[in-house]
Subunit: 146 residues, 4 copies
């Protein structure tokens, strides 16, 4: 993990499977992986000294694409790591890659793309440039295999 004074590229969150996240097949419901990924993204932002819902900044970060591949199931009480990596910081958007590991076992791999928007008074959203105070806190991990 990068020092606080420089740019952040990744963060790893340690997590335990909660009872209500498990479905009737005894495994974590596939929709919850997207929540785990978001939770790690927010932890990365917090580590970088930012909050993803800073009202004063006047911008939001809705998702434009999200995907997961599921390799092995997670079960109740399993401890696992959610590693999120910045793969792109562009003018108006960011991309992340996410890997879930239970010890040495790869559980799942995901991606998410977010766009920076201003929310108008009527609730409509318009894509805008990332504020420098946000863009300046992140940098993409070097190109590599997932």
């Amino acid at each position: 993990m990068s020092p606080k004074s420089s740019r952040w590229s990744e963060y790893t969150l340690r997590r335990r499977v909660l009872f209500y996240e498990v479905d009737s097949a005894g495994i974590v419901h596939f929709s919850n992986y997207f929540r785990y990924m978001e939770e790690a993204e927010h932890a990365l932002w917090r580590a970088a000294g930012l909050s993803i819902v800073r009202r004063e900044a006047g911008v939001g970060f809705p998702r434009v694409a999200a995907a997961f591949e599921y390799h092995r199931p997670l079960r109740f009480d399993d401890e696992f790591d959610v590693r999120i990596q910045v793969t792109a910081v562009r003018e108006r958007s960011m991309r992340y890659r996410c890997t879930l590991m239970r010890g040495e076992e790869k559980i799942a791999t995901g991606t998410v793309a977010v766009v920076c928007v201003e929310v108008e008074a009527d609730g409509s959203m318009m894509a805008v440039a990332l504020p420098p105070t946000i863009a300046g806190r992140f940098t993409a991990v070097p190109e590599a295999g997932g």
Copy 2:
């Protein structure tokens, strides 16, 4: 929609956004689209005279991949359609495509791939062929644009 006596390729579910599905930005949380897609998949199975959790069949259908692209936000109380289409029926797996529409507006497009598994006594899963009673109920939609 296909008649009951033949094979099913698609189903459209009419749905309304519930309060607890909306996040603090006032739009449906992106993880819930995966739940909408699954809900439509189960409605398709029900229409085809099947249940996705028939214990007696001894098989289950965990997801191996899922993705969504988000085009426009959904808000509280919005009515929308979730159209699910079978895009592949293979020996041990199925694939679906999903389109969310609010009237004439395209809200989101998704895909999901499921694999047919037998669950062992110890909870482990092994990929097996789709039972003929299931495979025989579905057929892929003709090739077309996404």
Copy 3:
């Protein structure tokens, strides 16, 4: 159900159990009953020509108390009715009673109390009187057993 031109006291919502609402014991997770109750409350408001999240009214309805007693489990794909009844309309608050039925079987009984608040610019909430346009749409059911 009352006619549109008079005051509403109750509403019954027909619902089906969704896959992701069921936990690993094969029954609906107890937290979801509170979401069912809220869903019926919102359907009652909609029937009465109101929306519980009308921004223009400038008021919100956070919950101050909620409870359920669970009599029988609900399982995947079960169809059930969620009957919500207004039990009190007071100056700044409302109370509801809720009964879940699967056919003739009583599944669960709940209550919820909400308070009418104005949300200040800083996000803080202050209890205020129900607007007459809202209070005038509801009346409590006559006293009786649940």
Copy 4:
């Protein structure tokens, strides 16, 4: 907190509000408090060397009643404590009390009652005595104000 070798009466879980737990009013959705209470209950069981879903024990713990009173809202990223206390250990049931605190502020107080059941092959449930290996790990907190 009690030592591992004796009986457990309470546990306090430190938690942070996640983005998807917050509703469009900007506060934690009231249904999630029941999930927080369960999460603390499971943490208490884990601390006591037990798992609430031990299949080998052949018993489960469905809820028969649950309630919350909400004093103050919780917002995104808030850190808070979920303190769960055993208030009764009976032949076939247990009761808990739960207090959510954000620092010195009382956020909410809840209760939950669970019953010990055996699950039959057909999925039906029958109340049975708590196994001694479970009952022997807990004792109620001394009588006191909440």
